[in-house]
């Protein structure tokens, strides 16, 4: 490993300025759990790392928003999210997903912003946040914008963020009336990266599905929302048979890929089953009041 410079900006604006020239060997660094692995194996050789740990504290806060939603600062650690009573109250599916997300040592240092910005399709939080309808707040030289999490990813380890842009928060809209679940499927050890991640959120009204979000990750090149699966259950009663139709539609529309965790065909088969099971689980979890 060659030497590199470690910059320690004291503010978000300073951090953005340090990252703005688009040099691919300069990267932002928060928890470092993914970046350090890439550096160790020589996949990434930085000339400069911009350490975000010293910027304004507000960026690691977890707050309930006025409308009943949730705002998670990008520098909040995964463990903070896991242990936050506010998160448990507003979006308990996030807390449940944490239990099988890596291990407590990693969760203690990994940050929400890095987890999203890394663009790795095997991450667990992006599909969960997508199913919750979350957006990320992004700041850059040209100002701020909001991007839905489901539109954040442009490819395998690729995001729509431009040079110098940093995620500053993930904001979850109010979940009243919704229920959500996440299924992580591993095919080797239990602590492996998922072969498939399925996150779903349901809103029932008058005994039928009024709205849903169904998101697949890990088995596809990037996190993907599945509109045909959602359409298959819209207006229908929330039964296992109906949810099976969503599974069939998901299997038909998702483009799964081969890797060491399984063939594309097998992942499609897993998707068919687990979309149904995730919807069943969401229904049984019950809607948020």
């Amino acid at each position: 490993m060659k030497g590199f410079e470690l910059a320690r900006p004291a503010s978000l604006a300073e951090a953005i300025a340090l990252l703005a020239d688009g040099d691919p060997t300069v990267r932002a660094f928060s928890g470092g759990t993914a970046l350090m692995l890439m550096m160790k194996t020589g996949v990434f050789q930085p000339t400069r790392l911009v350490h975000l740990g010293g910027i304004e504290e507000v960026h690691s806060a977890i707050l309930a928003t006025e409308d009943g939603g949730l705002k998670i600062g990008a520098l909040a650690s995964l463990r903070q999210v896991e242990c936050s009573p506010v998160v448990a109250d507003i979006a308990p599916v996030l807390v449940r997903a944490m239990k099988r997300l890596s291990n407590v040592r990693v969760r203690n240092v990994a940050r929400i912003g890095g987890n999203l910005a890394h663009g790795d399709p095997h991450m667990d939080l992006p599909p969960v946040l997508s199913a919750l309808g979350a957006t990320v707040g992004v700041a850059g030289l040209d100002g701020a914008r909001r991007i839905p999490v489901e539109s954040l990813f442009s490819g395998y380890y690729e995001t729509v963020l431009t040079p110098g842009e940093l995620i500053v928060d993930a904001t979850v809209p109010p979940q009243s009336g919704w229920s959500a679940s996440y299924v992580k499927v591993t095919t080797r050890s239990a602590d492996d990266w998922p072969a498939l991640g399925v996150a779903v959120a349901l809103r029932l009204a008058d005994g039928v599905v009024a709205e849903s979000r169904i998101v697949v990750s890990a088995a596809t090149e990037k996190l993907t929302r599945l509109p045909a699966a959602e359409a298959a259950i819209l207006g229908a009663e929330p039964t296992t048979d109906v949810f099976a139709r969503a599974g069939e539609a998901a299997a038909a529309e998702a483009e799964t890929i081969d890797d060491a965790r399984g063939s594309a065909a097998y992942k499609t088969a897993l998707l068919r089953v687990h979309v149904r099971r995730a919807l069943d689980e969401a229904r049984h979890t019950g809607a948020m009041q």
Binding site: S189, A260, V273
Partner: protein, 763 residues
């Protein structure tokens, strides 16, 4: 057999916590990774990117010119230290650094030396090599007939008589062809009522000790000290001395604790390389591999096993033909021993009159394969116990009843002709069956969750004939040191051996100091491998302790004291020498008797000093929609003679079973054109805490090894034997499909269920 000799409440049989436990959990135990020598250089290896190729050129100029680089060394440079720099325990086939050819992706081709390990690593990136690529072979069966030949000429080491016929053999990948012929197999098949034939496969996997390989060589005045994480310090000393043309006593090999070995750290691994480098540059040289690099050192054999049985209408196996192909990779390492020593048990612990076994060690262009916890036995049990289950199913006989009908009983001859003695095979089988309540109804699940159960039993002969030596040193105050070269790599040997000394001398185990292996200090031991230490070193330690005890008695006698004197040891010394002075040194050496198998028939009337027996029972749950298998219950039972330390034995049983569980369910070195594509813990997954079965039970079968120290024998591998076939048998029981290839991934279960569904639709 099967009787525990009554023993007064003593040191043997006590579950004493490990003597070194406190050192380890407080971070004070010494490991080679922590050792730094003055002026030490760090080595980093440049590795081959082709699977088989002639080396045309190696350009080291840019690396050599980099600031901070001390030297760059290639294979030809090694000849200045060792003119014929080839090593290996069975074949002298492995060059210290590649010469002329490379034979697998990841083979060491050049080394950078620098004072800063990061500089060495960066400089390695500047080295380039050109190869003329040669045709390569990766599959063990194809290697039998392939045009690609990994080694032009075979170079057996000459230390093993049964390899002598291979000297100078050309243009073959067969490094050893072992055969066993017993009775008339053709006649058995001709008269059989049923014939069953199957082929089974295992994948290449890795030891993954959490302490990666590490060695440090320190040159001295006409001498060399090697600090190394090795399971075989005595072998390292002898082999380094042979390479250098030095007497043994100029090479000193020191081994502190190991962070796991499992067979990876046997024979020569990094030691020849660091020794040559240190002598070339006249400075200490350390090489610490990364976890990723370990995938290019030594692995477990992938295998193909074709097994065919002749069975009578009353369910007796009358004949069995076994063909086993061992994928040894590019260098033989100890593979030929695996082929022979494990090969002769390939027909299983069954009483079969007519047997034919052919076992082939093959060279291929994969990373080398050697010993890994079980020494080939788990690959064999996987096949013969899956086969056994399939025969029972085919005949409509209960799997337990079929095994009982054919089991090899005490006093009956094994396939080699050796009569079974102190081998509690039947008892192990019964323990497993009883634990599972085999005869009672079983909840088979419902809906998409189906349950099944399976059993399997295997056995292993000990490597032989091998030697262990030990010394027990009683100081004038009565405190006692044990000197031996058995390496404690986590298995608890220091504690168990101290218990033998303590029992013999009538003192507390905790008061004994066990001296770490150091070939200038501790006497010879063949190696810490194959579950041999408890029996071989245990016997040597017992003899050394007996010898010391006898000398104490003699000292008392010479002082005119009665033999049952209650004089304290320190008072004896004081009375004898007039002050606190002197020592008593007890020595012990042990080598069991052995008859080498006949080369043509493989038969021997004394093929092993003892047998290890291991059985496994499992209950599984299969998700019929996804193929996911959950192990609800894992039962391990073993005959290990009398347990010296029951708690350590129990952790050996569960540890071995869990390691094999990983090899069974998902561990797999994935190869693409000879390149390992998942050489890291991010992509090569081993079991974690969440992969543990719901319930694990470990049974120590009531047994006694008459020839063992206090009735004990080895246990480190026994619980690996039955795990894989027991799980495959349970999956078959649950969902009616048979898997014949490891690992048993959810996808393979799913595909087999799909295939069964389709074929039943066609029917």
């Amino acid at each position: 057999m099967n009787l525990v000799t009554p023993m007064p409440a003593g040191q043997v049989g006590r579950s004493i916590p490990r003597l070194e436990a406190r050192l380890k959990v407080t971070g004070r135990a010494e490991y080679v990774h922590n050792i730094v020598a003055p002026g030490m250089l760090y080595a980093k290896v440049f590795r081959s990117t082709v699977a088989h190729g002639r080396i045309l050129s190696i350009d080291t100029s840019a690396a050599a010119g980099m600031k901070g680089v001390h030297a760059v060394v290639i294979g030809e440079d090694i000849r200045a230290i060792v003119p014929d720099p080839y090593y290996g325990p069975a074949f002298h086939d492995q060059p210290v650094l590649a010469l002329d050819k490379v034979r697998y992706v990841g083979e060491a081709v050049a080394v950078v030396l620098a004072e800063d390990p990061y500089v060495a690593a960066a400089a390695v990136q500047l080295i380039s090599a050109e190869y003329e690529e040669l045709e390569s072979v990766f599959d063990e069966v194809e290697a039998m007939t392939s045009k690609a030949v990994v080694h032009e000429v075979l170079r057996p080491a000459g230390t093993f008589p049964d390899l002598k016929h291979l000297v100078g053999r050309r243009d073959t990948n067969v490094a050893l062809d072992y055969q066993l012929r017993r009775g008339d197999v053709d006649a058995a098949f001709a008269s059989a009522d049923h014939v069953f034939e199957h082929e089974f496969h295992t994948q290449q996997v890795m030891h993954t000790p959490l302490e990666p390989m590490v060695s440090l060589a320190v040159p001295g005045d006409d001498a060399l000290t090697v600090h190394t994480a090795s399971q075989s310090p005595s072998f390292v000393r002898i082999e380094i001395a042979r390479l250098l043309g030095w007497p043994e006593n100029r090479v000193r090999v020191k081994v502190p604790f190991l962070g796991g070995g499992f067979g990876a750290k046997l024979y020569i691994k990094l030691e020849a390389l660091v020794s040559c480098l240190a002598l070339l540059v006249r400075q200490p040289v350390k090489l610490s591999l990364s976890m990723e690099e370990q995938f290019y050192t030594i692995t477990k054999h992938a295998t193909t096993f074709r097994i065919k049985s002749a069975v009578t209408s009353d369910g007796r196996v009358s004949g069995r033909r076994c063909e086993v192909y061992w994928n040894g990779g590019a260098y033989a390492d100890i593979g030929p021993r695996v082929t022979q020593k494990s090969g002769f048990t390939a027909s299983g612990p069954y009483d079969i009159e007519n047997i034919s076994i052919d076992s082939y060690a093959l060279y291929t262009n994969r990373p080398p394969a050697g010993a890994l916890r079980g020494f080939g036995i788990p690959q064999l049990v996987w096949a013969y116990e899956s086969h056994t289950d399939l025969i029972a199913r085919g005949l409509g006989i209960d799997a337990l009843e079929f095994r009982r009908k054919n089991i090899l009983r005490e006093g009956r001859p094994h396939a080699t002709g050796t009569v079974m003695k102190d081998a509690a095979i039947v008892q192990v089988l019964d323990h497993v069956a009883d634990r599972l309540d085999w005869s009672k109804p079983f909840d088979r699940g419902s809906g998409t969750i189906r349950r099944g159960r399976g059993i399997a039993i295997g056995f292993k002969a000990s490597i032989s004939p091998t030697t262990s030596m030990a010394m027990v040193n009683i100081a004038a105050d009565g405190s006692t040191n044990l000197y031996m070269s058995t390496v404690d790599m986590g298995q608890g040997s220091d504690t168990a051996m101290a218990q033998i000394v303590a029992e013999t001398l009538g003192i507390e185990t905790e008061a004994i100091k066990v001296v770490s292996p150091d070939t200038d200090v501790t006497p010879y031991d063949m190696a810490t491998l194959g579950s041999r230490s408890t029996f071989h070193m245990g016997n040597a330690v017992k003899l050394a302790a007996d010898h010391a005890r006898d000398q104490l008695a003699e000292m008392a006698r010479s002082l005119g004291l009665p033999t049952d004197t209650n004089y304290a040891v320190k008072d004896l010394f004081k009375k004898k020498y007039g002050m606190q002075a002197g020592n008593i040194i007890g020595v012990g050496s042990f080598i069991p008797t052995y008859t080498s198998p006949d080369l043509a028939t493989g038969l021997s009337d004394n093929v092993t000093p003892f047998w290890m027996i291991g059985g496994t029972g499992v209950e599984v749950e299969v998700d019929t929609e996804t193929g996911h298998v959950r192990i609800l219950r894992l039962v391990n039972a073993a005959d290990l003679g009398r347990p010296l330390n029951p708690k350590i034995v129990e952790t050996q049983l569960s540890g071995a079973a869990l390691m094999q569980l990983g090899f069974t369910l998902f561990e797999n070195m994935e190869l693409d054109g000879g390149q390992v594509t998942n050489a890291s813990f991010a992509d090569y997954k081993i079991p974690g805490i969440h992969d543990l079965p719901g319930v694990i039970e470990n049974d120590i079968v009531d047994a006694h090894q008459a020839t063992g120290p206090y009735g004990a024998k080895g246990v480190g591998e026994s619980a690996t034997f039955g795990v894989s076939p027991a799980i495959a048998n349970a999956i078959h029981d649950a969902v009616g499909v048979r898997l014949t290839e490891l690992p048993l991934t959810p996808e393979s279960v799913f595909r087999a269920m799909q295939a069964a569904k389709h074929s039943s639709r066609k029917d």
